[in-house]
């Protein structure tokens, strides 16, 4: 099966640099140094002999069920080998969905009150392409200078973009309202856009060169996808937990408020708390060059937040931000159950997780 597939492969791009030299008398001198192979990526047999690949497999502590041949396939980007039987496109598609599912359920169950924008950026921080690139680099994956069948199967292979290529961020997307004057609201991002709230670019040609970031991200996704196929759901989840969710992120640093006082007032109205009032808790050096005021925001007798600043207004704004963050970052605990835990055998009955009304809209 493997051999018959291998024989159907062709080189995706005719690499003219390795072509044979033809002299005037039409005598063909074969280029012995770089033999022209009919394959665009290393053969599955080569995977068994690569020290780099075996070391990478061991370094990731992947189960033995995941064969080296598949591991080699996760390292071949569609831009290196356009044949879908030999590149990682399908594995990356599957793995990407699994990663974003586990990240999303972790974020939604652990921080049920996160506003949509912050949820998008938290998801981006955990499994955005930038982070996946960092993860792949920290796993010790190296890139091949250029793709080809003679390359060590332990290297990540893709067609590199030429330096100075303009990355077209706002190219054609899959959204139906592609006209620029339409407002891209938050709720439409849920429907049309990807898991980070970004527009999904239109399908590109598979052999088009791509950035290192995308190639590395494709590799991490493909590893999760191949784990799912060979070793099962639990192993794929374990990989996501160990390598993606275990990374550090201070979610409170993702917020950017525009009008925190107004938002807090609306929140108190909605939750039927008393109107928030700012009170000075302590101050020093009012007439000096560097005064400090400590202001608390109170709703009735309850202190919602506190902030310090060099002016009364700034201290009040900081206090409002602290109060809003305290509300949005409510968490039932770090060990809250997530829906995917129900898939394991003998799981106890599902208790509904806390679901919030949603963010404050004013």
């Amino acid at each position: 099966m493997q051999a018959s597939l291998a024989s159907t492969r062709t080189r995706s791009q005719s690499s003219s640099s390795t072509a044979d030299v033809i002299f005037e008398d039409a005598e063909r001198i074969p280029n012995k140094k770089h033999p022209l192979s009919q394959y665009a990526s290393p053969t599955p047999e080569a995977a068994l002999k690569s020290a780099k690949l075996a070391a990478l497999h061991a370094r990731l502590s992947l189960p033995q069920k995941l064969p080296l041949q598949t591991m080699a396939r996760t390292l071949v980007d569609p831009s290196a080998d356009s044949n879908p039987n030999f590149n990682n496109a399908a594995l990356a598609q599957l793995g990407g969905s699994i990663i974003s599912y586990h990240v999303a359920e972790y974020l939604l169950c652990t921080y049920p009150r996160l506003p949509m924008t912050v949820l998008f950026s938290a998801a981006y921080a955990y499994n955005g392409p930038k982070t996946l690139e960092l993860i792949a680099r920290e796993l010790g994956v190296e890139t091949a200078a250029a793709p080809g069948s003679e390359v060590d199967p332990g290297l990540l292979q893709f067609s590199k973009m030429a330096s100075g290529t303009k990355i077209d961020e706002f190219g054609a997307s899959t959204r139906p309202d592609s006209k620029s004057f339409y407002r891209r609201g938050m709720s439409s991002r849920n429907v049309y856009d990807d898991e980070f709230g970004d527009t999904i670019p239109r399908e590109r040609e598979p052999y088009e060169p791509l950035s290192t970031e995308q190639a590395y991200a494709g590799f991490v996704k493909a590893v999760v996808g191949s784990l799912f196929l060979h070793a099962g759901r639990e192993q794929a989840k374990r990989f996501v937990k160990r390598h993606i969710l275990s990374r550090h992120l201070d979610i409170s640093s993702l917020f950017q408020f525009k009008t925190p006082e107004r938002e807090l007032t609306r929140l108190c109205q909605r939750e039927e708390f008393e109107h928030p009032v700012a009170r000075i808790l302590s101050e020093t050096g009012r007439h000096s060059r560097s005064p400090v005021y400590v202001v608390g925001i109170y709703s009735g007798n309850d202190k919602l937040g506190e902030g310090a600043g060099p002016s009364l207004l700034e201290a009040k704004i900081r206090a409002s931000v602290a109060a809003l963050k305290a509300w949005y970052l409510y968490s039932p605990g770090n060990n809250v159950r997530v829906p995917s835990e129900m898939e394991s055998k003998g799981a106890r009955e599902w208790e509904p997780v806390h679901i919030d009304l949603g963010e404050v809209i004013h």
């Binding site: 020290a51 370094r59 955005g128 680099r137 275990s246 992120l249 993702l254």
Partner: protein, 137 residues
């Protein structure tokens, strides 16, 4: 837009969740002729296989380096490398050097002055002069 999200990336903490050995490759260079490689040749013949089997996550390359002293070069995930010359050493001493390279992080050596370094906030918080009762002297 009420509140906006800022884009950041998560920070890896090696050892939390998973541990990745930082040494990814060890190159062993020897010479067949020179006396300084005697221990190295004996190490390659007798101990290297066991060492390699114990550390599957390290790629091991053995190659001759004629008319030169034997050397072990470690390549690390952060892109740096570390070389140790093992001329005239016995095979047990060479094993120690290989273990030293295996355990190294690849970072430049620097003096550690603080007992704890952390990217997390202090649990106790930072002392504030504006809180707590006034100080009576």
């Amino acid at each position: 837009m009420v509140v906006q999200g800022l884009r950041k990336v998560t920070v890896g903490q090696n050892g939390v969740g998973s541990f990745i050995l930082q040494c990814k490759r060890l190159d062993f260079h020897y010479c067949d002729w020179m006396g300084s490689s005697k221990g190295m040749n004996s190490f390659i013949a007798n101990s290297l296989q066991k060492f390699a089997a114990a550390h599957p996550q390290i790629e091991i390359n053995v190659s001759p380096r004629p008319r030169k002293h034997p050397v072990i070069i470690g390549h690390y995930i952060n892109g740096r490398e570390k070389a140790v010359c093992v001329r005239n050493l016995q095979k047990e001493q060479i094993l120690k050097k290989a273990e030293l390279l295996r355990d190294a992080s690849g970072e430049k050596l620097k003096k550690v002055t603080k007992p704890v370094t952390s990217i997390k906030e202090s649990v106790r918080g930072v002392w504030s002069p504006y809180h707590g009762g006034p100080l009576t002297v």
